[in-house]
Structures are given as structure tokens and as C-alpha cells.
């Protein structure tokens, strides 16, 4: 691609990274680079842990726990959705903390405690004391795209999936919304929904129109 000044610039491609470039990177790596990369990978993938505190109060690894029965699972992803739950749903009387996800990536590290501040990055699970099959997840940390699959497998791997209804709450910038008119005139904020065909209940808002899509952890 030539620019006005005549120099040739490599255009960023929607194809993503060319495999030739990847192969070149591998060749130029020194042993120290390789070691750093290995450590980074271990930290990113090895440290996605879901820790549950069972009835007895003891913490246990997700793998040891029996899949527990869950009828409703509400997941709030992102600061706004997490704040919504904190403001309108959660309180220390009706809900108890039953789990936490620990993860690390270049953008955030989850807090170690369950007594979190709204500005922390965290991913906590709450259970309704009056109905222990209702589970809530507040995830205000950024889950990187290569960690999303693991997050899903580890979290949903602990739950029995029959009879489970999952509700995902999330927010997107209005500027990302694709519509014929300009987004400047849209009455924001507004709600849109996506649902699987198995979801038979009424939805409280219109469905997300084409060509809009959902990305990241809510999509995963």
C-alpha cells in the first residue's frame, strides 16, 4: 500500500496475522524470549481457577466438587452490569458468596478477597439463600479472548445443565450499534436481547436486529 509520501506501508489485514509472520516470529525468538513466553502462557492459562466454598465453609477446587443443581444462572459481565446487580439485586441478607474465579491476563488480575470494592476486578458467584439453585455471577474483570473458552468450561463444568436457565447481562457502547439512522438521535440507553430457540418465555425487550453482533465473554 503506497501512501501520499511514497513510502510503502504494510496494510493491516482483516485476515488477522499471516502465518508467515508467525513463523518468522518463532525463528527470531531467543531462548530468553521463549522462556518468558512459556511463563506468560502458564500464568494465563494455568491460573484460571474456579474456587467454590461448599456448605461446610471449606473451599475446594472445581474439579473435586459434584456438579450442583442450578435452575437459574444469571451472569453479569462488565462493570455496568456488575454495578446493576450490586445496586438492585445483591445484598448480604439474601445472598451469600459461594465461589470466585481467579485469573490473570495483561489487562487485569482478579482480587484475592471476596470483600471487593466496586473498582476492583473480580469475578464472584453468589447464591440465593432462600433458593440455593439460583446462582448469580458478577464478572467485572476482563476475560481475554483466549481465556474465554476455559472460563466457560470451568464454570459450566460445575453445573448440572438440565433444567438450567441462563441469563446474561452485559453492556455495549451505543456507538457500536448499527442502524440506519445515526446513533446520535437514539434514545439511549436501550435494551436488546438474543435468545436461544429453547427459551420459551417472554422477553421484556426487542431482539437484536441484524447486522448487530455480540462479542467477547457474553458471546462465548
Amino acid at each position: 500500500m503506497a501512501t501520499f509520501f511514497g513510502e510503502v506501508v504494510v496494510a493491516p489485514s482483516r485476515a488477522g496475522v499471516d502465518d508467515e509472520e508467525w513463523a518468522e516470529d518463532a525463528r527470531e525468538e531467543t531462548p530468553e524470549d521463549r522462556e518468558i513466553r512459556r511463563e506468560l502462557e502458564k500464568k494465563r492459562y494455568g491460573e484460571i481457577d474456579v474456587l467454590w466454598s461448599l456448605k461446610s465453609g471449606a473451599s475446594s477446587e472445581s474439579s473435586a466438587a459434584q456438579p450442583f443443581v442450578c435452575s437459574q444462572f444469571i451472569v453479569a459481565i462488565g462493570h455496568n452490569a456488575a454495578a446493576f446487580l450490586s445496586s438492585f439485586i445483591l445484598d448480604s441478607v439474601c445472598w451469600e458468596v459461594v465461589g470466585v474465579v481467579k485469573l490473570w491476563n495483561e489487562w487485569c488480575r482478579t482480587s484475592n478477597t471476596t470483600n471487593v470494592l466496586p473498582t476492583d476486578s473480580f469475578c464472584l458467584f453468589y447464591r440465593l439463600i432462600s433458593d440455593p439453585t439460583v446462582l448469580l455471577c458478577q464478572c467485572s474483570c476482563y476475560v481475554a479472548e483466549d481465556q474465554q473458552f476455559q472460563w466457560l468450561e470451568k464454570v459450566f463444568g460445575c453445573m448440572q445443565k438440565e433444567g438450567l436457565q441462563v441469563t446474561i447481562l452485559s453492556t455495549c457502547p451505543v456507538a457500536d450499534y448499527k442502524t440506519q439512522e445515526s446513533t446520535l438521535t437514539l434514545p439511549a440507553p436501550f435494551l436488546k436481547a438474543l435468545k436461544t430457540k429453547e427459551f420459551k418465555e417472554q422477553i421484556c425487550c426487542p431482539l437484536l436486529e441484524q447486522p448487530n453482533i455480540v462479542r467477547d465473554l457474553p458471546a462465548a
Partner: protein, 271 residues
């Protein structure tokens, strides 16, 4: 990896023995993916399943091929499989890029799925950076093809009849040693990897690619899908009266998801 949809047909809908698998490579201009969208949309193909994979960036939306209120609410994700048994055609559409370092595992899983589902052959739609063409490639058609040795035996003759141009190899060490030639598909994403793996695994694969640049790639998609149609004859080509050439551009149906590719409407206050 492949998860079939639960439809009345059951396992019959995921039996692809002898079918042609058509799929895009995520490549420059997303031309392969756009062309695949045209095929699925025009032939009104039925979704028969999806790929459950950790190799692609997640995304979800409503049916991109919706034509009416009734069919617009089916969820659609990043890797889905459509089929048209009457033409023995199965199509894989990929809608998002690869997650870093995951393209190799994806290729391996894909090729083993191709073998296990007994597809007869694979056609990969792709593209390559136009600015990397050499002097000869700048002239003439921007469309190229490649065939694995196993498929060359079957359809090599047809390519000659169609006057198609095979993708040229380039010098491995330009300027130093011009005799050693390698295949080089810049901007082609996983095209070269899939092709070389298919050659060594005896899979019948054809690559159809177009030289292009990033921008409005809809015309490139039409060119590529018409190129494909010269071979597969998926839709009838009308002989255009004005220039006496076969031009099927008007008969491909653009999916509703191609709306607003270049942004929203403008705020009136701008003017």
C-alpha cells in the same frame, strides 16, 4: 468439534459422504467469507450444525440470512455448517478470526473432520494481497486456482478447458537463487497451511483465490463466487445480451447482514 443441529432428520442431516465441502479462509478483505455468504444466501441452504471450538474468537448474533420476521430470530455463531443435499454441497462459514496460536490446531481438527465425514473434496475460497503481485501477475485475471495432486488427476483437465490460471510459485530466495520455488500466499490466512497439509494427507482440495486489497470487497466476492460457479455451476449463468458474456452477478442474493457494512446513517446535525 462438529455439533449437529437437532432436526427431524437426525444423523441423516450430518452425513456428508461424497459431498463437496466449500469453506472460506479468513483472508485479506474477507473475500472468501463474503463469497461463502453469497452461496449460502442464494441457495437458501439449511444450517445442519456448528463447530464447537476454542480456536475462533467468539461472537453471536441473529440469523444473518434472515429474509422475514419469522426466520430472523435464530442464533448464529462463529463457525456454522450448512448443507444442500440436492447438490451434494456442504458449506462451512467462519465468521471470526483465529485466536492467537490456535490456527494450527484448528487446521488439524478440521482436516480430520473432513476425513471422518468422508467429504469427497474441499474447495477453499481465499484471497491474497494485491500489492504483492509481480509484474506478470498485474496483467490479466486476478483469479487463481490450486489443486492438490489427488484432485489434479480428477479435474485438472477441466481447469485447462476453463482457461483458469494456476497460482504461480515464487522464488524462495528472490535475487539470490531463482531456481527454488515455493508457494507464497500473503494475506491468505490459513490457506497455505491447509493446502500443504491436504497435499501430504491425500485430501482432494482446490483453492480458489483472488488478488485484492482491503476496502469495499463486495465486488471481489462477486468475482470469486462467479469464478467458483464456472466450475460448480451452482446457479445458472445467463448469457448477457449486451456483451455476450456469462455474468451471474445479478442472480446472487445479498444477505440481510451485509447492511450497514460501512457504518450507520449520518446525524443530520452534521450538515
Amino acid at each position: 468439534m462438529f455439533v449437529p443441529c437437532d432436526r427431524g432428520g437426525g444423523s441423516a442431516s450430518s452425513d456428508f459422504k461424497g459431498f463437496t465441502l466449500l469453506m472460506p479462509a479468513v483472508s485479506v478483505g474477507n473475500v472468501g467469507q463474503l463469497a461463502t455468504d453469497l452461496v449460502i444466501s442464494t441457495l437458501n441452504m439449511t444450517k445442519v450444525g456448528y463447530f464447537y471450538t476454542d480456536c475462533l474468537v467468539p461472537m453471536v448474533g441473529n440469523n444473518p440470512y434472515a429474509t422475514a420476521e419469522e426466520n430472523s430470530t435464530e442464533l448464529s455463531i462463529n463457525a456454522e455448517v450448512y448443507s444442500l443435499p440436492s447438490k451434494k454441497l456442504v458449506v462451512l462459514q467462519i465468521r471470526s478470526p483465529f485466536i492467537k496460536n490456535k490456527y494450527r490446531p484448528f487446521c488439524q481438527t478440521l482436516l480430520s473432520w473432513v476425513k471422518s465425514s468422508k467429504c469427497a473434496r474441499v474447495i477453499l475460497l481465499s484471497s491474497s494481497h494485491a500489492y504483492q503481485r509481480d509484474d506478470e501477475q498485474l496483467l490479466g485475471t486476478p483469479l487463481r486456482y490450486l489443486l492438490t495432486p489427488d484432485l489434479e488427476k480428477a479435474v485438472g483437465g477441466l481447469m485447462q478447458e476453463l482457461h483458469w490460471k494456476e497460482m504461480e510459485k515464487v522464488a524462495a530466495y528472490p535475487g539470490i537463487n531463482d531456481t527454488e520455488k515455493v508457494l507464497h500466499i500473503p494475506g491468505g490466512g490459513i490457506t497455505k497451511l491447509l493446502f500443504t497439509e491436504s497435499c501430504s494427507e491425500g485430501i482432494q482440495m482446490a483453492v480458489l483465490l483472488k488478488f485484492c486489497s482491503e476496502g469495499d470487497n463486495i465486488p471481489d466476492a462477486f468475482a470469486l463466487v462467479n469464478y467458483l460457479n464456472e466450475w460448480l455451476q451452482l446457479i445458472k449463468s445467463e448469457v448477457s445480451a449486451s456483451n455476450n458474456s456469462t455474468d451471474t452477478s445479478s442472480q446472487w442474493k445479498i444477505p440481510s447482514s451485509w447492511r450497514l457494512l460501512f457504518g450507520n446513517g449520518l446525524p443530520p446535525a452534521l450538515f
